[in-house]
């Protein structure tokens, strides 16, 4: 296991079990270790445990809501540049690096980059559309710990979300990668069109060999930062129905222990409609649910080698190679972390604010023009309607 000291104890990345665990100082001492300078330091700002690394801005899929605005002629960093970024992530104590883009499998050296990450003690994972992936190319991806295939649903649902039908290619990739022994998940973008089909989509993915369904909130970034966002995002009713739907899907799909459900950070505020969670919010933290961790436990590195709070946020001026020393002090990143210092209502009185952290700031910036309570959070909607 890998131990990374924190002011409160340590993050521990286990090897025998796929898990990252936070333990207190007593547990660290029980391991025969001591946090030393980290435990006595004044600053409590830590480096990320997960970084999303854009290895290309090149992609021919043309998804209408691409958050990166990737194009067939997008820029692509040299491998040496990416390896320098990986050096910096290793030095920063990062555990997981998620390769994305653009379409990362369009790089001929993507397998070598996975090896480069592993050599540095990082766990490499990957997101792909599956489009144009030959059997031979898929076989070269076995160095990744997990690969998620973008799969928003059967063909008509997929088309609604992305503007073209790539469902067959995605299904083929899921099935083939699973048959190669790769741990495969699916990324399902939730829009008003895809949400009603979620159970069918996840059941199909599981049938094809996927072991995890990652649910993603649609976000107004890149090509999705347009008026079309307002017509594509989940409806208010769907957002209120999300938590009970999740509970139902969990019972339906996960009981055998062979399939897991994940939600992304931006979906955390939608859990505020779940009475059980709101009455025992510590369970969210105990089971490691993350809300907005932009500029905190999560960071992104753009194709031009700059650090961003998350993949959807504008990059800062901090270069990836300077992340280990500059992450805690960068002013732009700090602005993303400090929301919780004095959150306005209704976040201030919310039981899950410590996890949710105000919801998705990409959404609040787009819809409201500033970092503020997530305007699509059901609790925020009720508050603003005067019924909270």
């Amino acid at each position: 296991m890998i131990v990374r000291y924190e002011s409160w104890g340590a993050w521990v990345k286990l090897e025998s079990t796929a898990a990252v665990v936070a333990v207190d100082r007593e547990a660290v001492r029980a391991l025969g270790l001591d946090g030393g300078p980290v435990w006595s330091a004044v600053s409590t700002v830590s480096t990320p445990i997960e970084v999303h690394l854009a290895v290309t801005a090149r992609c021919g899929a043309g998804c209408k809501g691409c958050y990166l605005d990737a194009r067939p002629d997008g820029i692509e960093p040299e491998r040496e540049t990416l390896e320098s970024s990986l050096d910096a992530l290793r030095d920063a104590g990062v555990f997981t690096v998620a390769f994305g883009g653009g379409e990362p499998t369009s790089r001929d050296d993507i397998a070598e980059l996975a090896d480069a990450a592993r050599t540095r003690g990082l766990t490499p994972v990957l997101t792909t559309s599956g489009l144009g992936l030959s059997d031979a190319r898929m076989a070269r991806l076995r160095g990744f710990e997990q690969i998620n295939v973008s799969y928003d649903g059967p063909s008509d649902v997929y088309s609604d979300v992305r503007g073209f039908d790539g469902a067959a290619a995605a299904e083929r990739a899921i099935e083939k990668l699973a048959s190669l022994g790769v741990r495969v998940g699916v990324n399902v973008v939730l829009t008003r069109q895809s949400f009603p089909h979620l159970a069918q989509t996840l059941a199909r993915a599981r049938e094809l060999g996927a072991c995890e369904g990652q649910l993603l909130r649609y976000k107004p970034a890149g090509r999705a930062a347009s008026m079309d966002y307002l017509a594509s995002r989940m409806t208010s009713e769907q957002r209120r129905d999300f938590a009970p739907t999740l509970r139902g899907l969990s019972g339906l799909l996960c009981a055998e222990g062979t399939f897991s459900l994940r939600i992304d950070c931006a979906l955390a505020p939608l859990l505020s409609t779940d009475a059980e969670i709101m009455s025992e919010p510590s369970r969210l933290s105990l089971f490691g649910v993350f809300g907005c961790e932009a500029g905190a436990s999560l960071a992104a590195v753009t194709v031009d080698g700059r650090v961003a709070p998350c993949s959807f946020a504008p990059p800062t001026s901090l270069r990836a190679v300077d992340l280990p020393g500059g992450y805690a002090t960068d002013g732009e990143l700090k602005a993303w972390r400090t929301y919780l210092d004095a959150p306005p209502e209704p976040c201030a009185s919310c039981a899950i604010r410590g996890v949710c952290k105000g919801g998705c700031k990409i959404v609040s910036r787009f819809v409201s023009g500033a970092h503020g309570p997530d305007p699509e959070c059901p609790r925020v909607e009720s508050y603003r309607a005067g019924v909270a």
Partner: protein, 73 residues
């Protein structure tokens, strides 16, 4: 590494299961959140057992540019 670990479940503050592989936003497993108390206890027991048995390597991000020696054990 210590000769024996006596970490308790109470000292485990958070458990983030799985690796996830999304490249755009950070994900969290939630089916465990809805599982029974028995399942939750089993997860924490397995985590404590793993903490007690795995070899240890310490990373030190606070001194990133210094040459590193052998991993601590």
């Amino acid at each position: 590494m210590s000769e024996s670990s006596d970490i308790t479940k109470e000292q485990v503050l958070q458990v983030r299961l799985g690796h996830g592989a999304n490249c755009s936003s950070i994900g969290s497993v939630v089916d465990t959140l809805f599982a029974t108390a028995t399942v939750g206890a089993a997860i924490f027991a397995a985590i404590v057992a793993a903490l007690a048995s795995e070899p240890i390597r310490v990373v030190r991000p606070e001194r990133p540019r210094e040459p590193k020696g052998e991993p601590e054990s």
